[in-house]
Symmetry: D2
Subunit: 278 residues, 4 copies
């Protein structure tokens, strides 16, 4: 079970969210030291967009535990970004290697995932065959998560993101059924083009992994009243996380089961996620 975080809003240093909060993402990577839950020591990644306008995001990924990675700490301390994704990995079987670390990048898009396609080894070939042959060479790892990304790209992620993710989910469930795999899909996903962020919480069984969003910047202000950097966050700043950071009650709203959210200028969106056979 992986963990991830997506941030959009007033530019901040990555370390403000990756290291400083109690129960920060890096804390969560060795959560077990607190006697709670699982270890996410099978790699990590962070993808960020530069402050000055749209561009291909930068990507830093490593195969060791995030908690002891000196370079991640340095980059987090020295990098300011208005939009970034961060992920810590607990492998569900595929190799611990950089090409399997999230976020995945394609041109200006990033994608990260917590969950799994059940029996992926058996289903993989059929799924990979459905990827657009022009996109196929860009896949360089071996995870279910990367295949999900390229299926979504194949089905139109760049034009109608949620519809494309729904078709990807529909295909996975369809192929899973053909192979007799029960409840084939489990996912929380974040994807972004550098402007908007789309998040999905869904599983075939209707019992998806957790996902939370910060309802309003005021919540963050309450979380870190003495943090001057956070105090200057815009009203539109949003954070979506697989597990709450910090301890203030009321700061986090669960994303409902089988739902998607869109973080964007103006009003955010929340809607029902419905897989569709492509």
């Amino acid at each position: 079970m992986c963990r991830w975080l997506a941030y959009s809003g007033t530019p901040i240093r990555l370390e403000e969210l990756l290291y400083k909060p109690r129960f920060s993402l890096i804390d969560q990577s060795m959560h077990s030291r607190l006697g709670v839950e699982t270890t996410n020591g099978d790699g990590f990644g962070v993808g960020w967009y530069p402050v000055d306008g749209p561009a291909e995001p930068a990507l830093m990924r490593g195969v060791g535990p995030a908690w002891s990675d000196a370079n991640l700490r340095e980059v987090a301390r020295s990098t300011v970004s208005p939009l970034f994704l961060a992920h810590i990995r607990a492998s569900t079987g595929t190799a611990v290697q950089q090409t399997n670390c999230h976020p995945f990048r394609y041109q200006n898009w990033l994608w990260q995932h917590n969950g799994a396609i059940r029996d992926f080894a058996r289903l993989k070939r059929d799924l990979v065959l459905a990827v657009d042959p022009d996109l196929y060479p860009a896949m360089t790892g071996s995870t279910d998560s990367e295949v999900m990304f390229y299926l979504a790209l194949t089905f139109g992620l760049r034009d109608r993101p949620i519809a494309a993710i729904e078709r990807m989910a529909g295909l996975v469930e369809s192929v899973g059924r053909a192979y007799g795999v029960p409840d084939p899909l489990q996912m929380t996903v974040a994807t972004t083009d550098g402007d908007r962020v789309w998040c999905v919480r869904y599983s075939t069984e209707g019992h998806s992994r957790s996902l939370f969003y910060s309802t309003a910047t005021s919540a963050l202000h309450k979380l870190y009243p003495e943090n001057k950097q956070l105090a200057r966050l815009s009203d539109e700043t949003r954070l979506v996380v697989s597990e709450p950071l910090g301890e203030l009650e009321g700061a986090w709203q669960p994303v409902p089961e089988s739902s998607y959210g869109v973080i964007q200028k103006g009003d955010d969106e929340l809607g029902r996620f419905e897989p569709a056979v492509p």
Copy 2:
């Protein structure tokens, strides 16, 4: 808090103890997945002596988590040894790098440690100065554990091992006192010359980390009745571990507080460990 294991007896494949038992050492490295205690994901090591006679031991050490290291699994599967030490590390502050992974080796000797010298950064210089200048260049890492090894070598480990470790402990406590550090030493240690194995459980505060030994091979037979490889173990086969492997009650004896044990041909020894200012 690290974990370690020392084996001496009938030659066996390393994997029989590193991977196969329930609660094997590798299981313990991500123990937290079972919801229990700490993660040891800051490196690992195994040092083994060849089957055919005395020689410098071989050493394999890595900086990633043991649980996902493919090479460790291969070496454990293909290597048979009558005497080996294995260690999984949770750093207490020093860098995660190969030269800081246990076991440490000097000529035909191996050394591994669980515990810490409190306030080591402050005490380190004085302790390092006490290392024999001829041994000094052989230290290549930055841990308290390695300094303890070279202090013990300085104080006669190769001639009178327990006395040398007692002098090392005495020096650490003496230097600690000089700097006003309370309870400076906490350790369980295993060291071997390829023939005998010496183990020590000690802490200044008299509340040392756990250490267990398998009282007799019959205990192991009971542990793994269907394991044919273990069924052929000699009576003199012994296992010393920081945490019990497997689940059978009665298989493990705690090493008493402030004690040492010697595993050797003929009767083993157990005695009181008493630090002595060198």
Copy 3:
């Protein structure tokens, strides 16, 4: 351009060939320090069969340069084998990760390759589709070399090795032609089932990378007259290398262009390699 070595014969320590000879494989990995040719610093691997009978080989692979890998040195020093393959890698574009390091293993088989499929990114999908769907899940890396291995397995490597490799080569050339890729295949390959070793030197353009074999053990004796371990090698001991080790003239025979060789008990074989469309 990678380099590799295949050894079959009297059991020896791996280090005798990996480290000790002048121009040993490890020397070659940083050959450039001698001011000659290329660097092979993009990973390495060694696969070896145990002394006591047929079995799945052990595999050690790393992503750093072989010349500075402490664990490789330890394993080479402590491992004796009658049959092993060793490889140092210079990536031709795919990621530097363990799953891309040679040798590749499938059950009791090993495979290593020097060369490339030209324009592999474009051809990859068609080639991967031709892999037996039952074998497909076993591919975990992203290299042309691994796809070549699984194509050969698909085409009967385990029954008629050379014919299977010829069909693999035929497919690569056929797909290459369909995409308008000139001279699509360049390879020297070694593969073994733990009993025999098959080596191939071939390229579409008829100008293949170098490959040499030691004609008779007497040649090795001349190479290392003072090496007592080599002095006891059986007459059937053979070494195949991408570049000669040592310096004695006459010790090495080039494998002819478009040829295969079989190292086996009794007389070895040498024959013409002819790709066949499967």
Copy 4:
């Protein structure tokens, strides 16, 4: 033999100097592919100061070859800095580990070195003893280069940099003489406090490794006439390198034997470097 680069001037993206020029530092790391000289595949590092004012620099260091490090490429592409040091390492014997990679950092200072203290293993203890005990705990690696940095800090680097480096060199030579080591010191060094950069070229034998500086920004403009980013460099922009980048004759001036240079606002300095026993 390592290679390094120091840049001070108009803020630029790191990749402009690390990757883009012909014979860029990264090219040099596998120079041998061009059939020239040595390989620097034993780690790398880059330390940079942020655009917005004085602060502790950020540091990214890795143990693999720079040429295949995906994270270095990403950071170089996304980071703009007015002052940075970059280094590629060929180990002269000490371990390939992150704590041994240059640049070294202490507070706002960076330090990088090409060269060696001859017979360092023998001299190390005496040199380390001369480091200020308050600075001693900050040394975390095992190289001669780091000890040189902490000796210079001990001797006043932060107040009178060149005088401190001269005392460091004097001590190394004095200890070397005491141990009968001929020509103990060989170095080109760059150090900076984030404002000025001090460079030294010196060796006991008077035959020091190469060091070059770009005399005027106009030289860089000639080097890369089509590089718009370089075209906007200030007149005070300076580059110091162990080997020339690019190919234009006349663009680079050798730092004279036994000399130091200071890059600073206003006129730069060049003077004679004279070791002094501390």
